[in-house]
Symmetry: C2
Subunit: 194 residues, 2 copies
DNA sequence: GTCTATACATTGATAGAC
DNA sequence: GTCTATCAATGTATAGAC
């Protein structure tokens, strides 16, 4: 093998270009979804040629996977109350800063089959952990509802940009959401004082 | 004007064909969304030609509007408790039978700009009514959260077909959802007995 | 390592024959 | 009232020049 240190700039430049393409693709996938995001548009936004994008990532779907692949989430474990707080903390985090990978996936989850599949896999483990913490007969329904609430809040805020929710502070939102999620994760209903 | 009663079958056949096209379009828009639904596929499913679909509806977007135009919903009004029950009743109804117009719109709400616009208009009035019933300082955030929960539940059940939620009975779901929504529509938190 | 040129399929939409 | 033929545009993906 000849001098590997002779051309360190080559690999570095490649990584830089690749990063620019990924950033541009992420933005476009988040804003416009899978179908409406074209390779040409990604290339233009990244300041490169469309052929180069294909050369680096192979296909549009592969590029999408690279953008949406999320780091494995930490486990949800403990009592129902503890799990609820872990979920609330996670929601607060996703409200504070835009979760790029999740948003890119969520934007296309209703219209791109591959995105729906990845989403399913992710929520399956999620459901199992919540359901296990609840431990009631209808735990699976409750876990699904917790997941549905979480989905609705993130989608409404970041993607639909619902007025009144996109401006609200994470602290306020999680405070309002706490009793709501508590009622879902507690097997015994606290009773409605009506 | 010559005999208008001579050809009653003409108009009737046209209505029948139009109805078949609308039914096919509805199914495809619900299942695949706006982008992935092609005029050709609609025509094929309806057993007619693609040109005929264009001739009847003018454009793909016009066809989409015809499919997604919903009958105006009844007002939400009364005390927070009453409004909550009205929302729960509406959710129960949408869980029992597939709400075709809403689902066609919801499937594309994240990826089709026109769908997002129509959705916005619909939820604006919704928010105003809920917010008015709550009448607290953070009423707009609460109303947006109620809407987010509603969105998450319907999407999870009918579009994402979340296991554990797509099988559950409407009665069980609304019973589980009641304390959750109550906590959002009551300005005074009932307190978490932890 | 980057870009040009292009093949190939599919789309929405139009014009006109029957 | 229904269908055939076609247009113009756009998409992904590939081959090859620089």
């Amino acid at each position: 093998m000849s001098e590997p240190e002779a051309r360190p700039a080559r690999a570095e430049q490649r990584r830089a270009t690749e990063a620019r393409i990924l950033a541009a693709a992420s933005r476009l996938f988040i804003d416009n979804g899978y179908e409406r995001t074209t390779i040409r548009a990604v290339a233009r936004a990244a300041g490169v040629d469309a052929g180069l994008v294909m050369h680096y990532f192979g296909s549009k779907q592969a590029l999408f996977q690279r953008v949406t692949q999320a780091s494995p989430m930490p486990e949800l474990t403990g009592t129902p109350e503890e799990v609820t707080e872990q979920i609330l903390a996670r929601i607060a985090q996703m409200l504070a800063v835009e979760p790029a990978q999740s948003l890119a996936l969520l934007r296309s989850v209703l219209t791109h089959p591959e995105a729906a599949e990845v989403w399913q896999e992710g929520t399956d483990r999620y459901h199992a952990e919540i359901s296990h913490a609840i431990g009631a007969a209808d735990a699976d329904v409750r876990a699904a509802l917790v997941s549905a609430v979480w989905l609705g809040v993130i989608v409404s805020r970041h993607l639909l940009k619902s007025p009144g929710l996109s401006d609200a502070g994470p602290q306020l939102v999680t405070d309002l959401l706490r009793p709501c999620l508590r009622s879902l994760t507690r097997a015994d209903l606290p009773g409605t004082t009506g």
